[in-house]
């Protein structure tokens, strides 16, 4: 199929996603990723720690682990959709970061993303495509934060890479 041969214009992709997202907003709620990731963290922690997880108040008061949380399935859907799409377009192959510096940056970056999402209750998708379009005050605070963060991150990136 032609669709799986050429790179799609991101504007077209995002227009399609936005229209689907409006339907999702009416049915269950806007597209978000962080909430589902948190629930998966909770489920994984529960699987590893067992009943010990009840000693951590966060998992009682904020996110009691449950499989019946729709946001988890958005993330799993993205994984599935991307896998199918990559296989059809023959773009699926294992890519392993080559340099130690990349592994270090990804590890630190991943940790910071996880901590940031939980501190803010929102991820980047809910910031740009959830809270801000709903004109939530938190959206404007979060957009300010993420742009400032990306700018500081870019300075570090520049230093590390020397570009």
């Amino acid at each position: 199929m032609e669709f799986f041969k050429k790179t799609l214009d991101p504007v077209i992709a995002l227009v399609a996603i936005s229209i689907l997202d409006i339907f999702l907003f009416v049915i269950v709620g806007a597209w978000t990723v962080g909430g589902g990731e948190t629930m998966m963290t909770g489920l994984a922690a529960k699987a590893i720690l067992g009943s010990d997880i009840e000693k951590i108040p966060f998992w009682n008061l904020v996110f009691p682990p449950t499989f019946g949380y729709w946001k988890i399935y958005i993330s799993l859907g993205m994984l599935f959709g991307a896998f199918v799409s990559a296989v059809i377009s023959k773009e699926f192959y294992l890519r392993v970061p080559k340099h130690l510096s990349e592994w270090v940056m990804i590890t630190i970056g991943g940790l910071m993303m996880g901590i940031g999402i939980r501190l803010a209750f929102v991820c980047n998708i809910s910031t740009f495509l959830g809270l801000t379009p709903q004109m939530n005050l938190g959206g404007y605070l979060a957009v300010t934060g993420i742009i400032a963060g990306a700018w500081v991150g870019s300075l570090i990136y520049k230093k590390v890479l020397g570009v």
């Binding site: 995002l14 994984l79 799409s85 940056m105 901590i115 993420i146």
Partner: protein, 217 residues
């Protein structure tokens, strides 16, 4: 709607997003990073178009009381949290969406980033259990709570209630502002192209693609 139905719809939505993002290589991190570092706006434009459509769509449904807007008190934790997130996403070279999509493409770095996002969330859950900040959604009142650095809850629906003007009006204004930013980017791109055409050495500088580093490049 039943829980199963919700999860099923979410999965179908996620799958469509997965295909579209995989095919277009859209990345939220690149939308910010490339605009800041490389003056390349491919992803930034897509992000702005999406925000315009969603602003009109969401506020439109919110003015007739439909839809499920996010409902929790906001405060300085959004600013600080996304600041930390912003640094992290540029270092990792990926955002929440692209980690899932790139993991689906077989990118081991993206899987590693996801793993450590989970670890970060778990570490935060331990820290939260000590200081209980930011406040749990169950204890939120919607009113400012300055002691906890919380400003309360406000969105297009609360504006409509307070000012008796339909939410869509504010939505259209916001979409207009976003459109102006979009136009400014288009103008900037044209200017960059023009200066590139007049000086071929500069063209190389502008066309230089971002270095292959991080998950999205």
């Amino acid at each position: 709607m039943s829980v199963l139905g919700e999860c099923l719809i979410a999965f179908v939505f996620g799958s469509c997003v997965g295909v579209l993002v995989q095919r277009s290589r859209f990345c939220n991190t690149a939308a910010l990073r490339d605009a800041i570092l490389f003056k390349s706006y491919r992803n930034t434009k897509a992000l702005l178009v999406s925000m315009m459509i969603l602003t009109v769509g969401f506020t439109g449904f919110m003015s007739i009381g439909e839809g499920h807007p996010m409902h929790f008190d906001v405060g300085l934790n959004q600013l600080i949290g996304l600041f930390i997130f912003g640094i992290g996403m540029v270092l990792a070279g990926a955002c929440t969406v692209s980690t899932w999509v790139k993991a689906g493409e077989g990118n081991v770095g993206a899987m590693w980033a996801l793993l450590f996002t989970f670890v970060g969330m778990f570490l935060f859950s331990l820290a939260w259990s000590v200081n209980y900040w930011p406040p749990a959604p169950a204890s939120m009142t919607g009113e400012p709570n300055l002691q906890a650095l919380q400003f309360g809850f406000a969105n297009a629906s609360t504006l409509q209630e307070k000012l008796k003007i339909p939410a869509i009006v504010f939505g259209l204004i916001q979409a207009g502002v976003l459109y102006m930013i979009y136009r400014a980017i288009l103008r900037r791109e044209r200017r960059l192209l023009k200066s590139a055409a007049s000086a071929s050495t500069e063209a190389e500088v502008i066309k230089k693609s971002p270095p292959a580093m991080g998950i999205c490049h």
